[in-house]
């Protein structure tokens, strides 16, 4: 085998979450109220456009969660030797981006470096002299014979990318229309027109619109990436686009794995407090009031500082730097989860208190159904909408929190690429003359897209699931 798969802890949890999401989907499909609510989400145009964008981010994050160690060429005595460097499937796809580094800063699509340096120029008579000039980049636009041809080259590549994107999009749309035409037994033209109308039961127009934008972006990047640094390079000459794509996984892990920690705590304690009342209720209320009264950032700071002490005083626990960074990321998720379950727990307790007084629960109690069965069969399904709303609402705030925490110095490992570390490294560069703006701009654009999509989807989900919202003007 030419590679050895590596399963980091965060990979395991991410794939576990994917399995959990599939299970939730199956559960929702069997439960009529949940299915109706998801159908309402499907009719929301902003929600479905956001979901399409989020799926694209998720695809990048999942590709980046398949880790392996490549085999080194020339193994000894027939045994294959594997590299100590842990790569992911995304790294393999982006090999040109990952390996073709420049010396230092270069602007987006530039062919020359951002700063002057002493370079040797060979004069026609054969003598060598030193001049201070902007050196040519090793990789950016290196295929061009004449640098002046850059604009024409970029335009030609973009044009080809647009044509490709349009072709792909038309093919996809036609496939969807053909499927719908076959299913509903109507003509292809009618199905095609139906895609663009509201009231078809699913917001196809939004999905296809978002898909058009995504395809255009992806094709343009794919056309330019082989020869240029589309978003420039950073201080050590690494491609900014590569960093941005790697940041997506970190953001997703923070946003998703944290909920995995928070959810069991909040659901279990919330239901126990609300259903059983008594001393358990008092104890749980005391616990979350106490945790809630410590300002969030300070509690996280205190916990992370202590985690750092543990990590620094036990270097023998971690085999590689990647492993240490990964476990630190997980510890951060754990801490964020431990500090953020209180809000959901309070909501669930209140709802459970209300539900346990209703006739159907009292009837179940009168029939002698065990408490566990009542909670599982009667209480939990009726609390699901609160859980789902809380999950999607928390995601965007967690992604934003990661950036702030990394700035404060209590976020992810400094060696781990994330939006927070990117911003942190790039913010001092604005003080340079001339300004280095592209790292920040790229981080801003991708982070904004991710969080905006998450917020829009959260709104759609809340409107669909919250019983107070149905029927009311949004």
């Amino acid at each position: 085998m030419s590679f050895q798969p590596v399963l980091l802890w965060s990979d395991l949890l991410i794939w576990l979450l994917v399995a959990g999401a599939v299970a939730l989907g199956v559960l929702s499909a069997r439960n009529p109220p949940l299915r109706a609510a998801w159908a309402r989400v499907g009719r929301s145009r902003p929600g479905m456009a956001a979901a399409t964008v989020l799926l694209a981010f998720l695809a990048v994050g999942l590709l980046d969660s398949l880790h392996y160690r490549p085999a080194l060429p020339g193994g000894e005595g027939g045994r294959t030797v594997y590299s100590v460097e842990v790569l992911s499937a995304l790294d393999a796809l982006l090999t040109p981006l990952r390996t073709r580094n420049e010396k230092t800063y270069s602007a987006p699509l530039a062919t020359r470096a951002h700063a002057r340096e002493a370079i040797e120029v060979r004069a026609p008579d054969g003598s060598v002299r030193q001049v201070r000039d902007y050196p040519r980049l090793r990789h950016g636009g290196a295929h061009l014979g004449d640098e002046a041809a850059r604009d024409a080259d970029v335009a030609a590549r973009l044009l080809r990318a647009c044509a490709l994107a349009a072709g792909l999009w038309l093919a996809l749309t036609a496939a969807v229309a053909a499927r719908r035409a076959a299913r509903d037994g109507r003509g292809f033209a009618a199905a095609w027109r139906g895609l663009w109308r509201d009231g078809e039961g699913f917001a196809w127009n939004a999905v296809l619109g978002a898909l058009a934008a995504l395809l255009l972006l992806a094709c343009a990047l794919a056309a330019l990436v082989p020869e240029y640094h589309v978003f420039g390079t950073d201080k050590v000459g690494q491609d900014v686009l590569y960093q941005v794509l790697k940041s997506v996984r970190t953001a997703l892990v923070i946003g998703l794995v944290t909920t995995l920690v928070m959810l069991p705590l909040a659901v279990l304690l919330g239901i126990v407090a609300g259903y059983f009342r008594g001393w358990a209720d008092d104890a749980i209320q005391y616990l979350y009031t106490t945790l809630n009264s410590i300002p969030g950032v300070l509690l996280i700071a205190a916990a992370v500082l202590m985690m750092q002490v543990v990590i620094d005083t036990h270097p023998q626990w971690f085999a590689t730097a990647a492993e240490r960074a990964d476990l630190r990321l997980l510890a951060l998720c754990l801490i964020l989860g431990m500090t953020s379950w209180t809000g959901l727990c309070r909501l669930l307790r209140g709802e459970a208190l209300k539900l346990r007084e209703l006739e159907y629960i009292q009837a179940a109690q009168a029939f002698g159904v065990s408490d566990l069965a009542i909670i599982g069969r009667h209480l939990l399904p009726n609390l699901m909408h609160i859980v789902i709303i809380a999950l999607v609402m928390d995601f965007s705030s967690l992604v934003l929190a990661e950036a702030v925490l990394s700035y404060v110095g209590i976020g992810v490992d400094p060696t781990m690429i994330s939006f927070g570390t990117m911003i942190n490294n790039a913010r001092m560069e604005l003080a340079r003359e001339p300004v280095v703006w592209w790292s920040l701009a790229a981080a801003f654009f991708f982070m904004f897209a991710l969080v905006l999509a998450a917020n829009l989807l959260a709104d759609a989900v809340r409107d669909a699931f919250d019983p107070r919202m149905t029927g009311a003007a949004s």
Partner: protein, 326 residues
Amino acid sequence: MLAYLLRRLFYALPILIGVNLITFGLFFVVNTPDDMARMQLGVKRVTPEAIEKWKAERGYDKPLFINPAAPGVGLLTETIFFEKSARMFVGDFGRAEDGRDIAREIVTRMGPSLAIALPTFILGLFVTVSLALLLTFFRATYLDFWGVVLCVALMSISGLFYIIGGQFLISKLWKLVPISGYGGGPDAWKFLLLPVAIGVVSGIGSSTRWYRTIFLEEIGRDYVRTARAKGLPETAVLFRHVLKNAMVPILTGVVVVIPLLFMGSLLTESFFGIPGLGSYTIDAIQAQDFAVVRAMVFIGSVLYIAGLMLTDLSYTLVDPRIRFER
């Protein structure tokens, strides 16, 4: 009223004790003082003598809870728990790594923190409530729709970008105000202008949307229909009736944070170099000054609990139906 307040104070005590125990557990039980010493002195090549000296200088060389070696009451008082944790209840926070008294540092740094946080809070509240009223007035029109879209977009931008972008545009490109710093005297307002403006703008998105939902919920009530039926213009309905009645849900979210204004804002203060409590906390976190972080956690919870009590009091001011007899 007084009895009610006293009872609330009594309830707050166990919570503060819990906070104290949590921080004590985090800082002294999860990690022993030895670990901290090794961390501060550098993990490699550290001698046991150096660790003992570090601990003795800071008073961390005593037992955690019970000191059998000490006579009389010293059994309980000459311990880390009593000296470092329990004494925070009387405002004694010990010394920071640089040897300064934390309590005095906190008092002197409150001023700059408040100078930023208070105007931001008041202006921000005024701006967001006004915008939310505007959106409510034009509800179900294109202005409302695009206003909400803009709010969602604004709240999707990280707070870091507001600060970085504001500093870059206003201070560096246009050179309107100094990029950072803090000063007393007549020129102090120059330093405050930008942080306050950025603080207000960065809060617009989420707050405006939140107040708008509150107003919309209120506008569906019967008394609003009555007010319209008796011929009041829409503006009078909004300002005189809806705004007043929406005060209770608004106050619930707003009054809690008033005492926390003393803590300042971590990001704003550290970006603008303002010598307040926010930058004090950030510096302590980055220098791993555990004594300061412990003190700030405790003060933060005290202020939060004070905020909860203030919230209850403010209800009586805006809603005469709420009384504290019970």
